[in-house]
Amino acid sequence: MSDFEKLINFLARENYGNLFTPLCGLIAIVTGFLFVQKNKVTIFFLIYLIIDFIFSLCDTYLQTFSSFSKYQIFIFITLTNTIISLAELLTYYYFFSKIIKNKSILRVMKILGFSFFLITVLLETTRFAFLTPRLIYIADVVGALEFLFLVPPSFVYFYELLKNDPVVNLYQRPSFWIVTGILFYSVISIPYLLIDRFVYDNQYEHRYLLDLAFFYIPFSLNLIFLTRAFLCKKTLTI
């Protein structure tokens, strides 16, 4: 079987989700570079998108062409996914810190962000070898935790949005697209990450379809919303 056939088979098995999502990521990166005012928030978003894009390519390469064992690949994916989660959480928290005015929420976000950073460092360095549950379960819980931490600031954003004077049209607010995207992605991903291992362990026949419906599509939607935010041609924090 040629490399190309291997790649096509792999993509087909995953219902082309792992082709479509990095493509959306690439579009977001290009749009971000071309259309958005460069400030700290934009740079954080671009770094996060680039990290995610590179790791997605690496994952695809490893799963298609490499001669590493399945366990080794799994460890690599888990560790890179955790780095992506950390980059994602810190980027969005930085973004939220620029748009949310409630100081108590900002303080809580600082604590949550720091806690998540510690958990990530612990996972990367020890792989939770000291715990009874396998890394395989812990990694999903850590992923779910990230999205759980992203939901409250999103709701606070909408609360403050409705509380303040609606000077700018909602569709022209980059923050509206960004927060809507991450909220959708988070709310759908939390239950899925918690059931993910159960689905794989039981070899559920439509597991790849579930991956597509509850991970790839929401993530791609988030990236499309991010691209839309970049196209607003306004500072992302508006």
Binding site: L162, D165, P166, T180, F184, N202, L210, F214
Partner: protein, 276 residues
């Protein structure tokens, strides 16, 4: 196996319900925001409309006040001078050459005085100067005109970076200053007055003080109260305030605080004093 499939179906149902809830949530946010935005735009338009209405009312009131002023000036000064001139000319006695020459001379002087007064009224009414040279220069011109009456001396002090407001607003401020000086001319019996313009932190502070006979601000006649009320209303319309401080025998201090931070600084730094 059947149990596992059921668990996954339950998960699918829960996940679908979550997606639906999120979609409804976002649609509701859009709806509420849109509704709020419509109300907000309506409020802004109402505020704009009210402001424009007040502006028109103030302009009309200023116009009325100007007409009254012209009417008084014509009646009290020009009319008097012209009547006297006419009287002098009517009673010319051609048989008495010396007396006729004297009367002609007086008539010419009276006509000259009338022309001068007409010219002064015309200059006071001309608002083009404000549009062309700005408020400060127009006020300086007005002060120069008042100085020519020789009734009292005036010092003017301008400090800070001059901010140029739009012509309509500068005209209102100009009329307020003009009215304040007209009051000094008519009622204060002052020997000295001082005018200061201070532009600081996006605010224009105007102070006009005199060493005249002063008055009780809350116990003045109907006209005085109406005049002060008009000036207060004009200052308020510009988003500012007016304050008056006076006591009988202690002179009068009139201050205006007018915000002008929304306007760009168009010209050079104007820090000058041309007092004498």
């Amino acid at each position: 196996m059947q149990k596992n499939t059921n668990d996954i179906i339950i998960f699918l149902l829960v996940a679908s319900a979550l997606i639906l809830t999120m979609a409804v949530f976002i649609v509701m946010i859009l709806y509420v925001y849109r509704k709020k935005q419509i109300l907000f735009v309506r409020d802004i338009e109402q505020i704009k409309l009210n402001h424009e209405k007040t502006l028109v009312e103030t302009q009309l009131e200023m116009q009325e006040s100007t007409f009254r002023h012209i009417s008084r000036e014509i009646h009290d000064n020009i009319n008097l001078s012209l009547t006297l001139a006419k009287l002098q000319l009517n009673t010319l006695n051609w048989n008495n050459q010396t007396e006729s020459e004297q009367k002609l001379k007086t008539s010419i002087e009276l006509l000259g005085l009338s022309i001068k007064e007409l010219s002064a009224i015309s200059k006071g009414l001309n608002t083009d100067l404000i549009k062309q040279q700005g408020l400060v220069n127009a006020v300086r011109n007005e002060i120069r005109r008042i100085r020519q009456t020789g009734l009292f001396t005036i010092d003017t002090i301008v400090t800070g970076n001059t901010v140029y407001l739009d012509a309509e607003k500068e005209l209102i401020i100009f009329r307020m200053v003009q009215e304040a000086f007209n009051n000094i001319l008519k009622h204060a019996e002052a020997r000295h007055a001082e005018l200061s313009f201070n532009y600081t932190d996006g605010t224009l502070y105007i102070a006009i003080c005199d060493d005249g006979k002063g008055f009780e601000p809350h116990a003045g006649s109907g006209d005085t109260q109406a005049g002060l009320k008009n000036m207060t209303a004009r200052a308020k319309m510009l988003g500012g305030v007016m304050d008056i401080s006076s006591e009988p025998g202690q002179g009068t201090l009139l201050t205006f605080i007018i915000p002008c931070n929304e306007y760009a600084k168009r010209k050079h730094t104007d820090q000058s004093s041309d007092g004498r």
